[in-house]
Amino acid sequence: MTDCLEVAFTMSDQELLREMQDERERRALFLLNHMTGMLSDKLLKIYEYFGSFEEAYSRDADVYFDAGLFQKAQLRENYRKIRENEGRLLKEYEQLKSSGIRMIMLTDEDYPERLRQIADRPPLIYVGGKLPDENRPTAGIIGSRKCSEYGKSVAEFFAGELAARGIQIVSGLAYGIDAAAAAGSLNAASESYGVLGCGINICYPRENWPLYHRMKLGEGGVISEFPPDDDAFGFHFILRNRLIAGLSDVLMVIEAGEKSGTATTVGYALDQGKEVYALPGRITDPLGFGCNRMLKEGANVLTSPSDILEYFGMEEGSVLKMGEKDLGKLNLHERKLYGALSQKSQHVESLAVKCGFPLGETLSLLAGLEAKGYAVSPRGAYYRRCI
């Protein structure tokens, strides 16, 4: 009897049915994803046990406890809550869909291959903008949130150089190195990818709004596995790190302190069999400790964007050396001032003393250098070289 029915459907009808099934499945998954304490690993176990999320959602909490999927009594309450809020959540689901956020399930075709291959892949990801192209190389750039000016410059420079040559840059869109890498690749190639430690609708930290906004609107994209309006909880970041490692073909560590979250990302990358490159740090620099330890433990030495290009077997073209600038365009005073500038930020007054220029002249010269892209002011009254 069932056979006859199946034959009776035309091809397009079958597709329609499939789509409807998918939609129901996606809704169930969306709802389950909102349950407190329901992280990706638990979702995967549930899927394995019930065969589908739709099935899982239709079952009573007791079934979960009997199957050993739930252990803590609190989960019964949490499970009841999402059922109670079903109406509101489904409204949010529709809103999310119409706002252009894609919800991609593991079973969907457009689920990123790179993620499908990692062990603890998330069954559902939220995507704003684009996903990284499967056929183009990706490189992750990670590092400390509290980083040096030098670290920021390097991250921005590497991201820019690589993005300009078609490599997709993945970062965590946090402060510091992450933000610098995202800014570098966005400016060079209008493309950058960020894996968020909060819901897809939340921009954390808020200072990164311009980057987040551009990426969400299609200059690259933002990806999250957490419910769309979830705040950035500490443990989220550790989880999100496995996705950064997962989406990257190769991982670059720019600056990392002794105890740094970057170590977890590197750990994931190594588990997933990815190459890790670390930027050597000074031995006295606390922000170099992490990188140097990784190098000692066998990470690749990162000194130039060409290291990464070489890894991908790509033509180098004309990669600029860091800090290289054409000084021919500058006049004598500008050149003298540029000579006094360095990687570290210096107060305007110190620069004026070094060059022997009056303060007013130094200020207007600096403004000129900044306009031409030779200097940058990270903070009022402080200037450093722009690389």
Partner: protein
């Protein structure tokens, strides 16, 4: 019998004439005082009668009624003791009332009959002058101060007997009053003891900011780690402002007179005020108020510098009180018996660290989290920040700036800087002739369009700087006003690119807050 004697009362910085009427008649002996009096004023009955007794005057025990007119205004202070005593003596017939005509009295009495100085002699004398009096009898202590009022004959007496003697002799016509002993300070004679800019080594950036602030009367915020000379520079700012004119000095001295803060033996201030209240200050102490409405720190800083060290540590309510005076340059305090207006025309100079530990932006030393840093600076509200045109970040001192011998004329002296500031003030006065303001910092949006015109290339430059540095629109007018002052300092009528470049550097502190720290290995 009945007698009327003239005196004056104070409300805010303004005085008003008061008539004291005394009536003596048979009845139950005692003194009744009427006319809305505060406690200390009412206590005059004890002081006056005992003072008279101890001065060898023994009025018969009779029923004495003393009325203050206008009765509707609240009378405060002890300056009414002397006029009450004179009125009572006249009412007893011990003095001739016609000898007191055209003369006003004020002063406090001791039980022994001695006359003591009171607060507010200067505004009282001013009020009496305005009310048409040309003669004042007061305590010797107050004579110099009251004599500052032009065409006012001031007779300073040491006790009630001297007053009686004076009034008896006045029956044959008044002799001109002797010139009070305390002389007017003759210009900046004590300049040598004042703090001077040449004491500050290095810190050219902050000094430059200070000079711009003084030149255009722009409010200034200095930020940076401790020990970089922020307080030193603030303390020296009055020394580069132009000397006060006599009118200005009188206006300011009036406020100090009310508070009893004029230096002993100096009826006038000898320098522009520099007030630096501690950050634990309360709202009434800051804005003015209290049981007897006294001027607050904002008014005491009028004509000079109000320096708020550790700005973020001040109570929010205290800081918010700055908003109205920074716009109107006066403060209105409303109390039960009406509202009084005190001047509050000061140059606000504030200093702050960039974070709680004080080391930010030096990330090597600073241990604050990003949130903590934002919370720290965030205590200064946006509307207040908008009223501060200049923000300057101090350069942490280098060792070679502190160690080593100082060359004789290494640093500019205040007098040299003041010459330049005076020239810029004169230039602004000339330009703003016929306007209600005198300084670049006072330009409103419409005036900015009129007086801060940019050429085409300068407009393009500013636009470029805005996008490059990610500046907010709020800073636009500040930058123009400051650029106007910088151009004036160079004697340029046109605002040029270099003026804008410098003004941009001194923009708001909050624009740069998120720029991140400096980590130099």
């Amino acid at each position: 019998m009945f007698a009327k004697i003239n005196t004056a009362g104070l409300f805010g910085v303004e005085g008003y004439p008061v008539v004291i009427e005394a009536d003596v008649r048979n009845g139950l002996p005692g003194m009744t005082l009427t006319g809305l009096l505060s406690t200390e004023t009412r206590e005059a009955q004890a002081r006056v009668m005992n003072a008279l007794g101890n001065s060898g005057l023994h009025p018969e025990p009779k029923k004495i009624t003393v009325n203050f007119s206008p009765a509707g205004m609240r009378k405060e202070g002890t300056a009414y003791d002397l006029p009450i005593a004179v009125a009572v003596l006249c009412a007893y017939g011990m003095l001739k009332e016609q000898n007191c005509a055209g003369t006003a009295f004020f002063g406090e009495l001791g039980l022994d009959g001695s006359l003591k100085g009171v607060r507010g002699a200067l505004p009282l004398a001013f009020a009496l002058k305005e009310a048409g009096f040309t003669r004042v009898v007061t305590a010797a202590e107050n004579a110099a101060e009251a004599a500052l009022v032009e065409d006012m004959q001031v007779f300073g007496c040491r006790d009630i007997r001297e007053v009686m003697e004076l009034l008896r002799r006045a029956g044959n016509g008044w002799v001109p009053a002797p010139v009070p002993e305390a002389e007017l300070p003759s210009g900046p004679s004590e300049g040598s003891s004042r703090p001077d800019f040449s004491d500050v080594r290095g810190q050219k950036y902050l000094k430059r900011a200070a000079e711009i602030a003084a030149s255009g009367m722009h409010n200034l915020l200095m930020s940076g780690p401790a020990g970089t000379g922020k307080t030193m520079i603030a303390k020296r700012l009055p020394s580069i402002l132009p000397e006060m004119t006599r009118e200005e000095n009188l206006e300011i001295s009036k406020i100090y007179s009310i508070c009893g803060l004029l230096p002993k033996g100096h009826p006038l201030l000898d320098a522009r005020p520099f007030r630096s209240p501690h950050h634990s200050i309360t709202e009434p102490a800051f804005a003015g108020g209290g049981v007897t409405v006294l001027p607050g720190e904002m008014s005491l800083a009028s004509g000079g510098i109000l320096f708020l060290d550790e700005l973020p540590l001040f109570k929010r309510a205290v800081l918010e009180q700055l908003r109205q005076p920074l716009e109107d340059h006066k403060i209105t305090i409303t109390r039960m018996y009406g509202s009084c207006v005190y001047p509050a025309d000061f140059l606000l100079v504030a200093a702050c660290n960039n974070c709680r530990c004080g080391f930010y932006p030096d990330l090597k030393k600073c241990r604050c989290t990003r949130g903590q840093i934002q919370a720290y600076i965030g205590r200064i509200s946006k509307p207040l920040m908008e009223r501060i045109d200049l923000c300057a970040e101090a350069n942490p001192l280098r060792v070679d700036e502190i160690v080593g011998k100082r060359k004789a004329d290494e640093e500019e002296a205040s007098a040299v800087i003041r010459k330049r500031v005076e020239a810029v003030h004169a230039l602004q006065k000339e330009r703003y002739k016929g306007e209600t303001f005198r300084f670049n910092s006072r330009l409103g949006i419409r005036e900015i369009e009129k007086y801060c015109v940019l050429g085409r290339s300068e407009t393009a430059y500013l636009k470029d700087a805005f996008t490059r540095k990610g500046l907010s629109g709020r800073t636009y007018h500040k930058i123009l006003k400051v650029a106007r002052t910088i151009a004036d300092m160079e004697g340029s009528e046109r605002i040029r690119e270099e003026h804008l470049a410098e003004a941009v550097e001194f923009r708001s502190i909050d624009d740069r807050l998120f720029g991140g720290g400096i980590y130099n290995e």
